[in-house]
């Protein structure tokens, strides 16, 4: 009940008109940018970071929460309506949603995605509300060796599970760790890899790594192989009031709940974030579908949109659990959020709920508010998002480049950061081109320095006894869980590759014929 009282207090802060406006603005901008093709949640968050630079911490985090949820939401619209493969977190939505749209059921797909995201987001935020304080209390007792164990788990799962091959993921992680080394090291104050450049003494900001890899790297990569010609968008016909039929509701609510049940726990453990959750949900919905729904899978089954979309948003909230209670980022987006916290001198972790409880609860309250706002915004405004999708690509990517420049320059008002951004961006371009995942690099950049601090503290405590790292039951459990996660993750990835290759394209008229009689 403690958390309920604290939450109510959070609401009184977050419902103040000024903060409500921030939440509305964040959700709106987050969705608008998230809808833009080629821009995933991580890039949305990274590009919009400068908006928060001059706000007070509470306002900034509320704005940020809106952007985070909005960016997650926007992606589903893109993958349903745009006639090309979508972004990673909602790629399985693209499988079914895109086909539903082609069969003239785009409105239903959008609605089940939006309502499913709302349901899942709300349930997951409730879970976050009640779980986080307890976990934070437990986490206070963890020693540096335990933290180090957690970070190693995060490194390896993120490095090994994201992307197509384990060594490439680890190279990406290594590059991130390398950038994390640059700067003045905390414990003994030594400069490392700064080459006497004063701007490097403060280290390389994770925002630069994220914006460079996601915004600049992506733009360069897209530019190298740009799809020319008119943008193909599948038209949405019916008005939004009659979007979902009775049968759509009946077929959607169970996948929403199952998606939430799958997404939230996966979001909380460092297992690759929303990506894995959406895939698992898709696979289980496909397995559970019976009769006509079973036939529709691969041709536009509503369950295949409802489940993964719910899982996606539940995972997005789940990611916040280790982020707020342990200070542990498990996705690229979370890494950027952590660095936003740090820029205000706030260190997420177990003490956050004690030292900054007003701030945390206002943030959590704003997640509830953001979810409601998203539901209200998304369904009626879909016509506007469709217009956003139509932005001619040269202008879209020119705009991304301009905002990437702003993000870098606004960090320290120094063009040295712009130069760093460029170098990271070129690396990001090459990594995309040669099949390296970029997210481990972002996570490595922020988690590397933290992990080093913890391992050196442990060694100082134990006077150099390496066994100290595995002395506590917690650390042992963490390492053994890691082994299980990595092995199942690799197995899942093999299955997923098979699954994604499986659905066969059927003429859309045939799908329409299957659906017509039920209306």
């Amino acid at each position: 009940m403690d958390s309920l009282a604290a939450l109510l207090e959070g609401f009184t802060t977050a419902l103040q008109p000024q903060y409500l406006l921030y939440a509305l603005f964040g959700v709106f901008v987050g969705t608008a940018v998230g809808v833009l093709p080629g821009i995933g949640p991580a890039m949305t968050v990274a590009l919009l970071l400068p908006l928060t630079y001059s706000l007070d911490p509470t306002g900034a985090l509320i704005l940020f929460a809106g952007i985070y949820y909005g960016g997650m939401y926007g992606g589903s619209t893109t993958s349903i309506l745009l006639n090309t493969p979508g972004e990673s977190a909602s790629i399985v939505t693209a499988l079914e949603g895109n086909r539903m749209a082609k069969a003239g059921r785009g409105a239903a797909a959008l609605a089940t995605a939006a309502i499913g995201s709302f349901v899942a987001g709300t349930i997951a935020t409730v879970l976050l509300t009640f779980l986080a304080p307890g976990i934070a209390k437990l986490a206070v007792q963890l020693g540096p060796a335990d933290y180090f164990a957690l970070m190693v788990v995060a490194f390896l799962t993120v490095g090994a599970l994201l992307g197509s091959s384990v060594p490439r993921g680890l190279v990406s992680l290594g590059l991130g760790l390398m950038l994390g080394l640059v700067g003045t090291e905390v414990l003994s104050g030594q400069q490392r890899y700064t080459f006497g450049v004063p701007s490097l003494a403060d280290g390389i900001d994770v925002v630069l790594i994220a914006v460079g890899l996601f915004a600049l790297g992506e733009t360069l990569y897209v530019a190298s192989r740009l799809r020319h010609g008119a943008v193909q968008i599948i038209p949405v016909t019916r008005g939004w009031r009659s979007w979902m039929t009775r049968s759509d509701w009946r077929r959607s609510w169970k996948p929403w709940l199952r998606g939430t049940a799958i997404g939230f726990p996966i979001g909380t453990i460092p297992a690759g974030g929303a990506d894995v959750a959406t895939f698992l949900s898709y696979a289980s919905e496909r397995k559970l579908a019976k009769g006509r729904a079973r036939e529709q899978f691969g041709r536009g089954a509503i369950e295949g949109v409802a489940g993964p979309e719910a899982a996606n948003n539940a995972a997005a909230a789940g990611v916040l659990v280790p982020l707020l209670t342990l200070g542990l980022p498990t996705t690229a987006t979370a890494a950027i959020i952590i660095s936003a916290f740090q820029s205000y001198g706030i260190r997420p972790g177990p003490l956050l709920f004690e030292n900054q409880s007003g701030l945390v609860w206002a943030l959590i309250a704003s997640l509830y508010i953001g979810n409601v706002l998203l539901l209200v915004l998304n369904l009626p405004l879909v016509g506007m998002w469709v217009k956003v999708l139509r932005i001619p690509r040269p202008y879209l990517y020119a705009g991304i480049l301009a905002f990437a420049g702003l993000g870098a320059y606004a960090l320290h008002f120094n063009v040295f950061d712009t130069l760093t951004l460029l170098v990271v961006g070129i690396a990001g371009f090459l990594m995309r081109r040669y099949g390296y995942p970029v997210a481990p690099m972002v996570v490595g950049g922020i988690l590397g320095p933290m992990a080093e601090e913890q391992v050196r503290k442990s060694m100082a405590i134990s006077q150099g006894d390496l066994l100290y790292l595995v002395h506590s039951p917690f650390a042992i459990i963490a390492y053994s869980t890691m082994a299980v996660i990595v092995l199942t993750g690799i197995w899942l990835k093999r299955r997923r590759a098979k699954l994604e290759a499986a659905p066969k394209l059927v003429p859309t008229s045939a799908i329409q014929a299957i659906d017509e009689p039920t209306k």
Partner: protein, 184 residues
């Protein structure tokens, strides 16, 4: 965006039969391995304060990072040599069959570089206008004056929003500094 996606053709490419020779891919992996070596060598140059109380000095973690990078990069090189090529990323605006447009990449990098000089000499709005217009034209915008006008609009809008309203110190530049709203 970093996900594994099936090959457009539906089946994995047969070993070593990619459309391009893997020279670029190998070169990138080799550069990563060299960076790993560089990190290890550089770690030796980090000054360890004498009489430091910590058992693990400032060099140990860098050694580890360098070794990780080196070993992982070598594993990638071996993978490429045995035919396990990386799958290029796919995206909504990426044409999987298009040839690499190096001209666009180089021009974009050059356009972005222009900021390094322009922000400080002619100010933020114009620097952004140059970046926007240059990038849009590189990517195939049809009418150059639209690109320039939108770029100028974007530059002024960001200057007003971030510089004037949110209080970030973006330099307005000598051309605009005399207007009171921009140098507030």
């Amino acid at each position: 965006m970093t996900t594994e996606t099936p090959d457009p053709a539906g089946a994995p490419r047969p070993a070593g039969a990619g459309p391009r020779r893997p020279i670029g891919e190998l070169a990138f992996a080799v550069v990563c391995a060299l960076l790993g070596v560089g990190v290890i060598v550089g770690a030796g140059a980090i000054r360890v304060p004498s009489g430091s109380a910590s058992v693990l000095g400032p060099r140990v973690f860098p050694y580890f990072v360098g070794a990780l990078l080196l070993v992982a990069a070598i594993a990638v090189i071996v993978a490429i040599a045995t035919g396990h090529r990386g799958q290029p990323d796919e995206g909504e605006d990426v044409d999987p069959d298009a040839k690499t447009d190096w001209r666009a990449v180089v021009l974009l990098v050059a356009v972005f570089c222009s900021q390094l000089v322009l922000i400080e000499f002619v100010g933020w709005p114009i620097a952004i206008a140059v970046v926007f217009a240059g990038a849009a034209l590189t990517l195939g915008a049809k009418r150059w004056w639209v690109a320039v006008l939108v770029g100028l609009g974007l530059g002024l809008a960001t200057q007003l929003l971030f510089g004037t309203w949110l209080g970030l110190s973006l330099p307005a530049g000598p051309l605009l500094d005399w207007i009171p709203i921009f140098n507030g």
